[in-house]
Amino acid sequence: MSTETNGFENTLLQLGLGEGWKWSNGSWWLTPADALDVRATASKMFQLGARFLCITATECADKEIRLDYQWDYEGQLLSFVVVTASGKIATIADISPAADWVERETHEYFAVEFIGRKTTLPLMTRAGDPIGINLHKEEAK
């Protein structure tokens, strides 16, 4: 860990982002003892002025999807992980509109249903195309 990041976990605690932040390979990762409320965490990030960056979806062995959310707060990269339940997770696009496109892309490639979205218009695919058509699944066929 670089000297610049030493002690930043205390800042995150003071900002109300909770305990359990650990630095690893370029990012602070939130690993709380209890399951993470994605909307509550995203709301806190947004209220603090953190900038939404990305969601990275990865298929787990049990077919659920691991979603890594990334934010930037004053140059520090903040990440937290949630796992879908039966392929579903709450949307944060109403909290941070920047998440709209990446949620739509994740829906199309990994068939994740983001609960609470008013609409999920096709982004990378076209109307009528099947969802969950990532190339890993195509290769497995």
Partner: protein, 362 residues
């Protein structure tokens, strides 16, 4: 009368293939719907089927303009996982390459913007300068587009003759300050086409996560080179130009001023280029087998922040490679910039976001 105009995916009004449906009331745009994905090549998936060395070559093909920043971000992420620390000289060379890439990308964008404005003399001036930058890149790397310079733990080629770059800096700065900036700032044709056109407010830029010159032209002072410095950026003095108007004119000014700053950075890097090796000592096993874990790397591409997330399972092939490009964030703002604008201004407004759909679609 309200009507819908489908534009694209292949259309003279678009710089790159995407589809835009403009909903108009007379000549005024009232809404816009965008479809992307026409350049999808499955690069993330392909990177998860190749070893780390092959991955460098692959991700350099994400974009035909900012190719270097993709291989840089990829290598930086792998370096975090395997602990390969590039030597100081390699970090400086990465900065020089990064800024030369920014220069040729910004000259390209400025030229295209000038053409769309109807000022073809400036288009020619910009592309003349861009050729000189690409000649310098070719002299350093042997290539004009995909440089193959980044390696895990350093760079693949040294800069033996710094005069190749130094010689063009004075000429570029002179051309930018004497020709391009005055015309972008004062010319009546440019002002009438760009002032107050395609405004993206600071609030919308922040909410939509806009990055790069687009965000900085809307008053968002965000640049990864300053806020989370990588390579050797923390060794150099440079400014991050920010404008507050948020219109096409502000984007022109930010791009032009950033070119001056790039020249400043390159000059400092060439003057203080340290002696020494350009590659960290990494064992063959270290290059191919990366310890298990997840690493995230960011870099400031010409169009804004690029993010790479790489997850390793300890084998020679990454388990997950995620690429988030600047245009993926920026193009969602087009809807905000075209609503309420004249239909005839929409090509310029879209182009002023500096879109790259090779990057966006991956």
């Amino acid at each position: 009368m309200s009507y819908r105009i489908p534009i694209g995916p292949y259309h003279p009004a678009l710089e790159e293939p995407y589809k835009l449906e403009l909903i108009c009331d007379g000549e005024t745009v009232t809404d816009a719907i965008m479809h992307i994905g026409f350049n999808f090549r499955g690069i993330e998936y392909l990177a998860e089927r190749r070893n780390y060395l092959q991955g460098i070559t692959l991700v350099e093909r994400v974009c035909g303009i900012c190719s270097n920043v993709h291989s840089l971000s990829f290598c930086q992420a792998v370096e975090q996982l395997n602990g390969a620390t590039p030597p100081e000289r390699a970090l400086y060379i990465r900065v020089i390459l990064g800024e030369l890439e920014r220069l040729h990308s910004h000259f390209l964008w400025s030229g295209i913007a000038a053409k769309l404005i109807g000022f073809k003399t400036i288009f020619m001036a910009c592309f003349t300068m861009r050729e000189k930058v690409m000649d310098a890149l070719s002299a350093i790397s042997g290539n004009r587009v995909n440089y193959g310079m980044n390696r895990i733990g350093g760079v693949s080629r040294d800069i033996d003759d710094v005069s190749v770059v130094k010689n063009i800096l004075d000429e570029m700065e002179r051309e930018i300050t004497r020709t391009i900036i005055p015309i972008f700032l004062k010319d009546k044709t440019v002002q009438s086409r760009c002032k107050g056109v395609g405004i993206l407010s600071k609030e919308d830029a922040l909410a939509m996560g806009a990055v790069g010159p687009l965000a900085r032209a809307s008053g968002v002072a965000q640049d990864i080179r300053k806020s989370a410095p990588y390579a050797a950026y923390d060794r150099f003095e440079f400014n991050v130009p920010v404008e507050t108007a948020g219109d096409v004119s502000a984007r022109l000014v930010v791009h032009a001023l950033e070119m001056i700053e790039s020249c400043k950075i390159i000059r400092q890097a060439l003057t203080t280029l340290p002696e020494g090796p350009i590659q960290a000592t990494v064992s063959s096993a270290g290059k191919f087998k990366v310890p298990a874990g997840t690493a995230i790397s960011r870099a400031e591409a010409p169009r804004g922040e690029v993010l790479y997330q790489i997850t390793s399972n300890g084998t020679d092939i990454p388990e997950r490679v995620r690429v988030r490009t600047p245009t993926f964030m920026n193009m969602a703002t087009v809807r905000f910039t075209v609503i309420g604008q004249e239909l005839a201004d929409s090509p310029l407004i879209q182009a002023s976001c500096d879109p790259c759909y090779s990057c966006t679609d991956r």
